[in-house]
Symmetry: C2
Subunit: 651 residues, 2 copies
C-alpha cells in the first residue's frame, strides 16, 4: 500500500511536468540522431554472443579444415595442439647447438633448485626432480612460448605446503600428504586447462600487477626465512610460515646447543654464488658462471662433506635420494577423500598463482622477441602439463622466473632447451642420485636464498608508489599479509584491496565542472584546463564515473544540487537557468540512477531551472528513453554540450 | 634478478623508441594545453580535503555564530539540534487541529500494529507499545521530516528476532533475550548517529533500490508466514524464518488436533480490514476508515471473545499486558557479554536496514512536499532516538512505511502528529492495557497480514526487469535469499550481486569503434550512430569503462590488437597507420593499465603503426606524463579526436 500510494503521487506529479514542458524543445537534426539510435544489444544477446564467440573460435578452426585431405586435417589439428610439429620443421643444427648449451645451463641450475623446492613443499627431494622431468617435456610439445623454463618454483612450493599441511601433517603421515599434493596438482591442472578451453584468460588478471609485486616480495622473504632451518641446522622448526612464528622458532633453537658448521658451510657458498653473479654481471661473456655456480657449490660441498665426514659431527645432509624415473601416481589421487573440496580450492588458488607467474614471465619475453603469446593456449598447455604431472609423481610446475631469464641469457632458440634439461635430469635420476647422499642441506638453503633477491623488486614498488597510492596499498597489503599472517591471507588482502579500489572509485566519484575552451567548441574540466570559461547562466557538470548506479546516484545528485546553490550564492552575474549533464562518459545507468536523475530534474524545475543531457551513450539513452525520462525533461537531449548551451537561447 | 633483468631489456628498448620518434610531433597549441595541465590533487590531498570538509561543516556553523550574543548562539545551537524550536514558533491552532486528527488516526493503527510487531520480535506485547512512546517523542523534537511516523516496523522486528535468537533462546531465557535486544538497539542507535555525525550518508546507498524491492517483498512473505502461527493458533512453531521450515511446521500442526476458531476469527477480520481499505480507495473522503479499521477489529474481537468466553474453547488471547509507562532499562544493557561483538554486528545490519526504510520513505514525501531532507541530520536523529530508546525498554524503531502514508493522507502538518500518537499510546498504557486481556492473537496476525501487501511492489519489480536485467537479478536474489534461507542471507545476496555488477562492468568492458558524424567534428560509436563514417587509415577506439586497470587492461589491449587485425583483414582500402585511443571517459588508470598501453604501443610500432591519445582527463594525463608514456609515444596527445586524425597528415 505504502509504496503504491507514493508511486501514485509521483505519477500525477510527472504528468503535470510533462504537459507543461513537452512542447518547449524542437528537436534539431543531431538531437534526432541521439534519440533515434537503434536499440543496444540486450544482456541476453550479449551472453549469447559471448558463448557463440567461444564456440565459433573452435568452429572456425574446424570449418577452415573442411574440404581438405583427411591427413592434412589431422596434421593441422595436431599442429594446433602440438606447436612442436610446426617449429621442428625449420629446426637446424645451429639452433640445436644453442638450445643444447642453454638446456645444460638451466639443468645445472634446475637440479639443486628442484631438490631445494621439494623440501620447501615438504616432499622428499626426488619429487622435485620428477617435477623437472615430465612437465617440461609436455610443455615442450604443447607450449607456445620459446623461452619459458618449466619446473617447480619457490612460491608455488611454499603455497602448496602451507595450505595442505592445514589438512594433514606431512611429518606424521608423509604418504597421505603426498596423496593430497598429487590431488591438488590434478585440480590445479584441471582448472588451468578449463580456464584456457573456456577462454577465461581474464581470471589471471584478478591479481593486479601491484598485488603480484607485493606478494612476490613477501613470499621471497618467507621462503628466505624457511631456509634458516637448513642454514642453522634446526631440527624442530615451526609449521607456520609467518615471520613471527619463524623468528620465535629460530630464537628458541639458539638457546639449544646448535652446530655452527651448517651455518659456516651454507654462508660461504652463499657468498660464492653471489660473487659469481657479480662477475657475470660485470662481464657479459661470463653469463654461464652464475648459472652453473649452484651446481659447482653442490659438487664442492658434497666432496668436502664426504672427505671430512662432517655429517658425523652434526652437518645435516640430504641422505638417501630415491633413484629411477618418475613412478606412476595415478592410484594415489584421492577423489573420494572428505577433504576433496578443500583440495579443489587449494588447486584453484595454486592454479591462479602458477598461471600468473608463468604467463607474466612468458609475455615479458614474448614482447621482447616480438611475438604474440596466446594466453588461452598457454593455459591449456600448462594445465595438461600439470594433469599428466599429477599422474607421474610431480607436483605443480610452472614457468620459473629465474631459470627463464637464464635460459634467455644462455641464448635458447626453442623449447628444445627444456627437453635437453629434462633429459639431463633423467640421467641424474638414473645415475647420479647416489652421489647426492652427502650433499649438505645448508647448500640447498643457500641456493634457494640466492634465487630470492630477483623476486623482490624495490624499483617497481617505488614506481607503483609514484604512480598510484591505492595500488601501492594493495602492494604493501599483500607484502605484510604474506609476511605476518599467511600466504593465502596475503593473496586475499591484495585481491580485496584491488577490488575495493574499483568499488571506491564507483561509490565516491564526485562531479566535475566544465567550461568552454577559448577558440574551440570543446567543454572541459575547469580545474584541468584553467583557461576554460564558464558560460553564464549555464551549469555544466560531468560525472567522474562510468556508472550512475545505486552506490553513487544519491550522492552525485546531491552534490550537483549543492554545487548549483553555491555557484548562485557566490554572486555570479546571472542565476543559473540551465543545468547540462555531460553524459559522454556514462557507460551504464541503473534504476537507482534514473530515479535520482528524476528527483534532480524535479528539484531543478521547482526552482525554475531546466535539465539537459548531452552526448548520452548507447545504453544510457536507451534506458532514458524506455523509462520516459527523455519525455519528462522535454526531450532536452543533445549530441554535444555546445548544442545544449545554444538551446538555452530557445527559452 | 629475473624481474630486474627483464626490466633492463625493456628500458634499452624504450630508449631506442624514444630517440626515433621524439621529434616527429610538433605540439599544437591545444596539445600544449593538454600536456601542461596543472597537477591533479594527490590522494593524500583528497583525504585531507574530505576530512576538512567534514570538520568545516561544523566549524562553519560555529563561526557563523561568533560575535553574536551568547543567548542567541545558544538558541541557534539548540535550534540546529532540535528543529522543533524552529517550527513551533509558527505553529497555529489550525495546524494543531490537522495534526491532532492525523495523530489520533496513526495511533489507532499504531497500537494494534505495535503489539503485533512485538510478537514478531519475540518480545512481550508491552515492548511494542513502549517503542511507540519514547522514539516518536525524541524524533518529534529532533527530526527534520514532517510526515514520518516513528515506531516499530515489521521488517526490523523480524530481522532483530531472527538474528538474536541464534545467540539465545527467547522462550527459555526471555530476560536474557530482552537484554540482548536492548544492547543491539543501543548499537544500532550508535551506528546510526555515527553515520550521521561523520557524514557517511552513502552507507545507506549500499543497498540498491532493486535490492530493497526484492528484500522487502521477501520479508513481507516471511512475515506473513510467521502470522500463520497466530492465525492457526499453533503452539509449537519453528524458530527458523525460511519458507520451507515454516511450511513444514504448519503441515505438522495440521496433523495435530487444531482449533479452527482462531482461523475463522482471524480471517473474518482480515476480510473486514481489506474491505474497508477498498472502500477508502473508492471514496477519498473515507480515508480514515482503513486507518482505524484495525482498532475497530481489535475492539470488536475483544468484545466477542469476552462475551462468549471463547478463550476457554481454544481461542488464543493476548492475556496480561503489563500496564504503566516505559521502565528504565539502562541496567539491562550487556556490554560485558561474550556476545557483544555479535550484537554489535546485528546492530550494524539492523541500523542500515532501519535507515534505509526511514530515509527512503522520508525522502519520497519530502520531495512530494518540495522540501529537502538532510540525510545526515536524519541519521543523527534516528540514532539518538534509538540510543535513548534502548535506555527506556524500547527496541529498534524507525519510520514506518504504512503509518507514514496514513499520516500524510490524514493531513498531518508537522511532527506534532507523532507527539499526539505517543500521548495516545501513553494513555493506553496507563489505562487500557487491562482491556486488551481478551484480544485474540489471531486478530493481531490479521492486522499484520493486512499491512504486508504494501511491501510487495510487483510493478516496481516489473519496471526493474524492463530497465536492467542485472538489477533484477539482485532483486530476485534478495527475494529468494530471504524466502528460502534467512533474512541476513537475503540482504547479503542482494549487496553481493549489486557489487558484483560494478566489478563485472569494470572487468569485461570491451571497446567501441568511433566514426565521424557527417557534417560535424564529433566522433561517436559507429553502432550507436549508424551514419558515422570510419576514417580510412585510422582506427579510433574508446574504452567502455572509466578505469583502465589490472582487471581489464590486458583484455582491452588484446581486443584492440585483434580488432585492428580484423579491420585490415576485411580488405579496407588502406591499411591502418594511426590508432587513436579516445580517453575522454577514462577517469583513472593504474600501473597495469599503463604497462598494457606500453605493450600495445610497442606492438603497433613493430607493425609500422602509431598510437595517439585523445582528450585524456586530469589524472590520466598526469600519470601518462609521470611514467614517461607521453614521451614514448612521441608526445602524440591531442585535445580532440579530430585533431588526432588531422595529425595523421604530418607523417
Amino acid at each position: 500500500m505504502a509504496l503504491s500510494a507514493i508511486e501514485s503521487f509521483k505519477v500525477e506529479d510527472h504528468v503535470l511536468v510533462d504537459t507543461e514542458k513537452n512542447t518547449i524543445q524542437e528537436h534539431s537534426e543531431t538531437s534526432k540522431w541521439v534519440l533515434s539510435a537503434p536499440d543496444p544489444p540486450t544482456l541476453w544477446h550479449q551472453i549469447v554472443v559471448s558463448v557463440r564467440n567461444t564456440i565459433s573460435h573452435y568452429q572456425q578452426w574446424c570449418s577452415s579444415l573442411r574440404g581438405q585431405h583427411r591427413a592434412k586435417v589431422m596434421l593441422s589439428f595436431l599442429t594446433a595442439i602440438f606447436p612442436i610439429l610446426d617449429w621442428s620443421h625449420s629446426y637446424t643444427v645451429t639452433k640445436f647447438r644453442n638450445d643444447l648449451l642453454a638446456g645444460l645451463t638451466i639443468a645445472s641450475l634446475c637440479i639443486p633448485q628442484s631438490i631445494g623446492y621439494a623440501t620447501l613443499a615438504k616432499l622428499d627431494p626426488e619429487y622435485g626432480l620428477y617435477t623437472s622431468v615430465v612437465p617440461p617435456l609436455i610443455y615442450a610439445v604443447m607450449g607456445t612460448s620459446r623461452e619459458i623454463a618449466i619446473g617447480p618454483v619457490a612460491v608455488v612450493s611454499l603455497l602448496l605446503s602451507s595450505m595442505i599441511q592445514k589438512l594433514i601433517d606431512p611429518v606424521a603421515d608423509p604418504i597421505g600428504y603426498r596423496k593430497f599434493v598429487f590431488t591438488a596438482t590434478l585440480f590445479a591442472g584441471i582448472f588451468q586447462a578449463a580456464f584456457g578451453l573456456l577462454r577465461l584468460g581474464f581470471f589471471v588478471d584478478f591479481l593486479s600487477h601491484a598485488a603480484i609485486v607485493g606478494f612476490m616480495a613477501g613470499a621471497a622473504i618467507i621462503i628466505g626465512l624457511q631456509q634458516l632451518k637448513g642454514l642453522f641446522g634446526i631440527n624442530h622448526f615451526t609449521n607456520h610460515t609467518d615471520i613471527i612464528s619463524v623468528m620465535k622458532s629460530v630464537w628458541e633453537s639458539v638457546h639449544h646447543p646448535w652446530n655452527p658448521r651448517n651455518f659456516v658451510l651454507g654462508c660461504s657458498f652463499f657468498i660464492f654464488i653471489l660473487l659469481t653473479r657479480l662477475l657475470g654481471k660485470r662481464n657479459r661473456k661470463l653469463y654461464w658462471l652464475p648459472a652453473i655456480s649452484p651446481l659447482i657449490s653442490v659438487i664442492l660441498a658434497t666432496v668436502i662433506v664426504f672427505v671430512t665426514r662432517a655429517d658425523k659431527s652434526g652437518v645435516n645432509i640430504v641422505k638417501h635420494i630415491k633413484g629411477g624415473l618418475n613412478p606412476i601416481s595415478m592410484d594415489q589421487i584421492e577423489l573420494n577423500s572428505p577433504h576433496v573440496g578443500a583440495l579443489a580450492k587449494i588447486g584453484l588458488v595454486v592454479a591462479i598463482v602458477a598461471l600468473t607467474e608463468s604467463v607474466s614471465v612468458g609475455r615479458s619475453f614474448a614482447s621482447l622477441k616480438g611475438y604474440h603469446l596466446d594466453g588461452n593456449k598457454e593455459m591449456v598447455s600448462l594445465g595438461f602439463m600439470n594433469i599428466i604431472g599429477s599422474f607421474t609423481s610431480c607436483y605443480v610446475a610452472t614457468g620459473s622466473f629465474s631459470r627463464t631469464v637464464v635460459n634467455f641469457t644462455a641464448g635458447c632458440e626453442t623449447l628444445m632447451s627444456n627437453i635437453v634439461m629434462a633429459v639431463t635430469v633423467i640421467i641424474s635420476l638414473l645415475c647420479l642420485t647416489k652421489l647426492l647422499y652427502f650433499t649438505p642441506t645448508a647448500i640447498l638453503a643457500s641456493i634457494i636464498l640466492s634465487a630470492l633477491p630477483g623476486l623482490i623488486d624495490i624499483n617497481e614498488g617505488y614506481k607503483i608508489w609514484k604512480t598510484d597510492k591505492v595500488d601501492f596499498l594493495a602492494c604493501i597489503g599483500a607484502f605484510f599479509g604474506v609476511m605476518f599472517v599467511s600466504v593465502e591471507i596475503g593473496l586475499l588482502v591484495a585481491v580485496a584491496i584491488s577490488f575495493m579500489k574499483i568499488i571506491m572509485l564507483s561509490i565516491g566519484p564526485g562531479i566535475e565542472t566544465l567550461g568552454k575552451l577559448p577558440g574551440t567548441n570543446m567543454f572541459c574540466d575547469v580545474h584541468q584546463y584553467p583557461m576554460a570559461i564558464k558560460i553564464p547562466g549555464v551549469a555544466i557538470v560531468r560525472i567522474k564515473s562510468s556508472m550512475l548506479c545505486f552506490s553513487n546516484a544519491n550522492s552525485i545528485t546531491e552534490r550537483v544540487t549543492k554545487w548549483i546553490t553555491e555557484e548562485e550564492a557566490e554572486g555570479k552575474r546571472s542565476i543559473i537557468q540551465l543545468v547540462i549533464i555531460d553524459a559522454s562518459n556514462l557507460v551504464s545507468i541503473d534504476t537507482s540512477g534514473i530515479a535520482s536523475l528524476e528527483k534532480l530534474h524535479k528539484n531543478l524545475v521547482s526552482s525554475g531551472k531546466q535539465l539537459a543531457i548531452a552526448n548520452p551513450r548507447w545504453k544510457v539513452i536507451y534506458k532514458l528513453k524506455t523509462t520516459n525520462f527523455v519525455k519528462r525533461i522535454g526531450g532536452r537531449v543533445f549530441l554535444t554540450v555546445g548544442e545544449a548551451v545554444e538551446s538555452k537561447l530557445d527559452f
